[in-house]
Amino acid sequence: MPQYFAIIGHKGNPIYEAEFSIQQGNQKNLGFSQELKEMNPFILHASLDIIDDLQWQAVPSNSQYTNDNSSGSGSNFSISSTGGFLRSKNVNNTDNCYLGKVDHFYGLAITAYISYGGMKFVMIHGTSTSGGSNSTNTVVIDDNACRSFYQEIHELYIKTLMNPFYKTGDPISSPVFDSRVRSLARKYLNK
């Protein structure tokens, strides 16, 4: 299962991006296919609107869906309900940092996490075999592993922020950060 991970800043500007894939021996096809690789940023950014909306939802979950419908009929609510509807079931409702699955795109699942400072951590979960043959199969997301992964990234991000030479919203270019993120991805995502 390859993943494409990015941190998005306040203005929709990307701060960090990485692609995780397992490459064992001669099996070269475990990553994203070439055309999908180029599409990844677009797919990811397309889900930002939903995340933006979920960010300010009191209880970003399915239960809110019905409440929203009864309370108002603005365009905001229609989006938010879509977001709520798409989310995976076993999300802990009291935790509004981890949003769980927020969107999907032809079998690719997109999960998101919002930090306290409004940084959006977004990830595309791909299927293990590339191409369009089984793109209808939806990816199953292990929410607990995913949440732990995001929390670890969050902690790493805060550590980056503690660097006095790092300015909020700048791209993170530290190789240490990169290697830490990759080892976390190995630990939690590609078991």
């Binding site: 494409y4 203005k11 929709g12 500007n13 990307p14 701060i15 960090y16 991006e17 990485a18 692609e19 995780f20 894939s21 397992i22 490459q23 990553g31 690789k37 180029e38 990844n40 930002l48 960010q55 300010w56 939802q57 009191a58 309370s71 108002g72 603005g74 905001n76 802990n92 009291t94 935790d95 509004n96 940092c97 981890y98 919002i114 930090s115 306290y116 400072g117 929390q151 670890e152 969050h154 902690e155 790493l156 805060i158 550590k159 980056t160 922020l161 503690m162 660097n163 909020t168 700048d170 791209p171 530290s174 190789p175 240490v176 950060f177 290697s179 830490r180 990759r182 080892s183 190995r186």
Partner: protein, 323 residues
């Protein structure tokens, strides 16, 4: 050519001239085959724990640092407005960092480690022996993390040889926590990476604050205890205007030695910057300004007036209007 690229998800023009973060010509760096063999790189910044270690820093050291900061800005600015904006900017970057850090720290479940907030330490007088040991460790750590503090501390001490200058004002210097783990060897450090990560201690992340009143409570309580070791003296909502809230400090410790009420109030823009950075980063755009309002025998009583943007209020009515 570079500037002609269309960024699909932003309409903000100011962003276009900045570095993008995407290597758009190459795409993200894929995982390398031999990565499994490698242990992750280590650096001091990422090996340190984000956990709180209770630090107290000398008020003298802090005010000397603050004084130097103000005279630097004062030297390089044309007008009062300029001065206040610059000071506000200084505070803002601190506030932005704190909004991530303090929230994350409060997520740590209380049983596993020492608590973040130290509400109102009851005894303002620390006995001499414990303070001395405290001072020593503090100096060695702040020498590494913030070079400005070390010299200032010694300067404060030479002036008043035998006096105990440490005080109970904890400040930003413990933002980068001590480097206890740094002296370990590489192999030990690999072991420590598990311990240093706080995520294992977190069972549930603290909820992000979505309402104005929630986040102001956090500023009033946790932020204030982190900065000044006590909660702020009052949190008031303006009765006249909907978007105005006030945080009140009876005796702002940082500016207490500055004479002339007009000078002092300008210097309070630093704390305003911290508040503004904190709120803005958390998604509550606002303006903050200090006002001197003496009451009873508090001559320096300062009111930090927070004026939220309309968008914040609109969002609040849309999202939570019914409740």
């Amino acid at each position: 050519m570079e500037q002609q690229i269309i960024y699909p998800s932003t309409s903000d023009a100011s962003f276009k001239n900045r570095s993008t973060g995407y290597e758009y010509t190459m795409g993200p760096k894929p995982s390398l085959p031999d990565e499994y063999m490698r242990s992750p790189l280590t650096s001091k910044l990422y090996s340190e724990s984000l956990n709180t270690k209770k630090h107290e820093i000398s008020l003298s050291a802090m005010t000397f640092l603050f004084q130097e900061m103000i005279s630097q800005i004062h030297k390089n600015c044309q007008s009062l407005n300029d001065f206040e904006t610059k000071l506000d900017k200084y505070g803002e970057s601190i506030g932005m960092r704190l909004s991530e850090l303090l929230n994350f720290r409060s997520s740590i479940s209380p049983g596993t480690s020492s608590r973040t907030s130290t509400f109102l330490s009851s005894s303002p007088v620390v006995n001499t022996t414990s303070t001395n040991t405290n001072t020593n460790t503090n100096t060695s750590s702040s020498m590494n993390s913030q070079p400005g503090n070390g010299p200032n501390r010694s300067r404060a001490n030479t002036g008043t040889s035998s006096k105990d200058t440490a005080s109970s004002v904890s400040t930003k210097s413990n933002r980068t926590s001590t480097d206890r783990h740094i002296h370990h060897t590489q192999s030990q450090q690999a072991q420590h990476t598990q311990v240093e990560s706080l995520t294992s201690q977190i069972s549930k992340m603290r909820r992000r604050d979505l309402k104005i009143i929630d986040i102001l409570q956090f500023v009033h309580g946790t932020l204030w205890s982190y900065l000044f070791n006590h909660v702020s003296d009052d949190l008031v909502k303006s009765s006249e205007r909907n978007n105005e809230y006030m945080i009140i400090d009876n005796q702002p410790p940082l500016t207490q030695f500055i004479s002339g009420s007009n000078n002092r109030i300008s210097c309070d823009y630093f704390i305003c910057g911290v508040i503004r950075g904190f709120l803005t980063n958390a998604g509550f755009r606002c303006k903050v300004s200090p006002h001197l309002m003496p009451k009873d025998n508090w001559d320096n009583r300062t009111v930090y007036l927070i004026q939220f943007d309309n968008q914040v209020l609109e969002r609040e009515t849309i999202r939570f209007g019914q409740s």
